[in-house]
């Protein structure tokens, strides 16, 4: 990969594994048939889909392969889960979620509020952790669904979703988790859990973009988002994206094979990067909960400088990462995740997320460790909060610009 630069943005999307590409290719050409067709063109495709479903089932530790519903993306899975719970239980008008969810959940919830639903947004502390007492007190028979992410896409911080699902179950409330960032990176065993629904997105685990999964526990009441043909047992109509589903199946199998590697070698690269940067750059810190997070994610806040500027300089050196700064998103506010953790603005704008995959190498890590300090120094030299070797004394008082 290094001839194309160093890719440390795997929480945004991943490279499709070459063997995954290989297994999907025939389904564009000789195996183009519709799996619903009776003739031989369709039949083989049907068999391949069946296999893919089993492969995904295995990765999720689901009890039945019929609990796997293929969708078009993680976002569709999230929408399907939440809207299904509301449709199936019209008398329940409340939703519980968290302030740090992905927009796939948050935007939908904000929209549902306008439709008259009451949404409870659980807050997080400065390490991105939830207070389960508050959660317990909100569970009631007015709540249609709880939707809480397994791992945060920006910081990698885990939420105790298995425990929260058990609590929801005890209160008779449905539980959904957006596990888009967790699936393929940490072991998951749904048959042993009380989780009713779970979202997966293929492109985060080396399958193509535009393929997702909704896990739906057998017996959980369900209302489809898309009605039409009988595909996915009528739970998600529309001709199957055969090539992508087959690709996701293979990617799921490979994720299983690499689970150990992810949690040892990939984790070691992440840890080395963090340690190396923290040792050589002053005034920076890891955001989220370092003791309880994805093995591949490091989110570092560089104080007194801005994230997009850091990314541009990194990019010039062939290093790809991402940032929670306002400017990278085109909005005026820095990342809602950083704000929720009460990270000061002077640091929130300077957060950089480095996210690894099994394709990274220790050699790349050392290159990044060498590249970061001069970039930070270069930008701090331009910063009005910085003076020579360190920040101004009481930087936010010493430089307090007129709001414009």
């Amino acid at each position: 990969m290094s001839d194309q630069g160093i890719y440390l943005d795997n929480n945004a999307t991943t490279m499709v594994d070459p063997t995954v590409v290989e297994v999907m290719l025939p389904y564009f050409s000789e195996q183009f048939g519709n799996p619903s067709s009776l003739h031989q063109f369709g039949n083989k495709v049907g068999m391949a889909l069946k296999k893919a479903r089993k492969q995904v089932q295995a990765l999720l530790g689901a009890e039945h392969d019929s609990e796997i519903i293929f969708t078009s993306c993680g976002t569709e899975s999230d929408s399907t889960a939440i809207l299904s719970a509301l449709k199936a239980q019209p008398e329940r008008k409340e939703i519980i979620t968290t302030v740090v969810e992905h927009p796939a959940v948050l935007s939908l919830c904000e929209y549902l509020e306008k439709e008259g639903y009451k949404v409870h947004y659980l807050k997080v502390d400065n390490k991105g952790r939830l207070d389960l007492n508050t959660y317990q007190n909100l569970l009631s028979d007015k709540v249609a669904i709880v939707s809480v992410m397994w791992a945060n896409n920006e910081t990698g911080t885990f939420f105790p979703v298995e425990q929260m699902a058990t609590m929801a179950k005890a209160a008779g409330v449905m539980f959904h988790t957006d596990a888009v960032q967790a699936v393929g990176k940490v072991p998951i065993n749904l048959k042993e859990s009380a989780i009713d629904m779970l979202s997966v997105s293929g492109h985060k685990l080396h399958a193509p973009k535009g393929i997702g999964v909704l896990y739906l526990k057998r017996g959980v009441r369900f209302r489809p988002l898309l009605r039409g043909g009988h595909q996915e047992r009528g739970r998600r109509a529309g001709t199957e994206a055969a090539a992508s589903i087959i690709a996701l199946g293979r990617a799921a199998e490979m994720a299983m094979e690499h689970m150990e590697y992810e949690n040892t070698c990939v984790k070691a690269m992440r840890d080395r990067l963090e340690e190396g940067i923290l040792a050589s750059v002053s005034h920076c810190f890891v955001t989220g909960d370092p003791d309880n997070r994805l093995p591949n994610t490091a989110n570092i806040a560089f104080e007194y400088i801005e994230g997009e500027a850091i990314l541009l300089l990194l990019n010039k050196m062939g290093i790809a990462a991402s940032s929670g700064s306002a400017c990278t998103s085109g909005s005026l506010e820095p990342s809602h995740v950083m704000r929720a953790m009460d990270i000061p603005y002077t640091a929130a704008h300077g957060t950089v997320r480095f996210s690894f995959s099994r394709y990274n190498t220790m050699e790349e890590v050392e290159k990044v460790i060498a590249a970061v300090p001069p970039i930070v120094a270069q930008l701090r030299k331009l910063s009005p909060y910085w003076d020579g070797e360190g920040p101004l004394e009481e930087p936010e008082k010493a430089f307090a610009p007129t709001y414009a």
């Binding site: 801005e306 306002a326 909005s331 506010e333 430089f399 007129t402 414009a404």
Partner: protein
């Protein structure tokens, strides 16, 4: 990633005049840390000639904020203070071969830092009255605050009216849902419901519409523009009437008003005053080059 011009990249990767100027006698601090941009501009002004002998910047911000700051210092070095004040944010953006619409505020920040620094040199208070909201219309770079204010000021009720007054929503139309939401919110404050099927008002009912002859109407337009003029001149700008063709009133914006990002807002303000004054719906349009040539302007 943003589609930055080579000029922006050049000024970002090798900024000019970074750091505070030694012996500075004018400092302008502007920005908004919550938006992720802040700028300190330091100038060394020759007190005898009032020319800017040196300029330096310190910026906390993204690529285009740093590039805008850098190019600003290059533009103003050697200028007199009065000339420097005529530099518009559009001049800054133009010098950079353009900025993405989401990033125009970076150039606005540059211009404001300059105004603040000059005010500081002259011992004046500088305060900024433009509040910035989330960008709603990406085609014409119109933000939520401007849309809200325009709806309130003009009693707008439909998306079409908002487009007529602010241009927002006049391009790709993807932001219509966002505009409807703002309408809903503002109308709700007045206890009204937003009606998506309502037709846009074609005339603002400002008293009894009096039928004016074309000549009287022209005189009236001139008179209204004269009323507005002092306001524009205070901001170092001006407006000139070029032509009237039915509902279209063609004007030329001059001085600081020309090419300023607020030009469209200014045009809308003028339009509002004309609509009120004339008691009919008119559209204020910047005159084309051909029209300007025809009147020798």
């Amino acid at each position: 990633m943003w589609d930055y011009s080579d000029k922006v990249k050049e000024h970002f990767f090798s900024p000019k005049n970074a750091g505070a100027v030694d012996g500075a006698n004018a400092i302008g601090d502007v920005g908004s840390i919550s938006c992720g941009d802040a700028l300190r501009l330091t100038l060394k002004v020759n007190p005898d000639t009032e020319t800017i002998e040196d300029a330096g910047f310190q910026t906390f911000g993204c690529g285009s904020a740093i590039a805008s700051s850098s190019v600003l210092t290059e533009i103003i070095k050697g200028m007199s203070l009065d000339d420097a004040l005529k530099v518009t944010n559009q001049d800054i953006a133009d010098e950079l071969d353009g900025l993405p619409p989401e990033k125009m505020h970076c150039s606005v920040m540059g211009r404001e830092a300059l105004q603040a620094a000059v005010a500081n040199y002259r011992g004046e208070e500088w305060s900024d009255d433009h509040e910035e909201g989330a960008l709603v219309c990406k085609c014409f770079a119109v933000d939520a605050v401007l849309i809200e204010d325009t709806i309130r000021a003009n009693g707008l009720k439909t998306v079409e009216e908002v487009t007529n007054y602010t241009k927002a929503g006049g391009g790709c139309s993807s932001c219509h849902e966002g505009i409807e939401e703002i309408l809903e919110m503002v109308l709700a404050e007045a206890g009204e419901d937003f009606d998506p099927t309502a037709a846009a008002a074609t005339a603002t009912p400002a008293g009894e519409p009096v039928k004016l002859s074309p000549f009287q109407r022209m005189k009236k337009i001139e008179a209204i523009l004269d009323e507005i003029r002092p306001q524009l001149q205070r901001d170092h700008g001006d407006v000139e009437l070029i032509d009237v063709d039915g509902k279209n009133i063609f004007v030329k914006m001059t001085g600081a008003c020309s090419g300023c990002q607020m030009a469209s807002a200014t045009l809308d303000g003028i339009q509002t005053r004309l609509v009120e004054g004339l008691g009919e719906f008119v559209k204020v349009v910047p005159a084309s080059a051909a029209q300007l040539a025809a009147v020798g302007a």
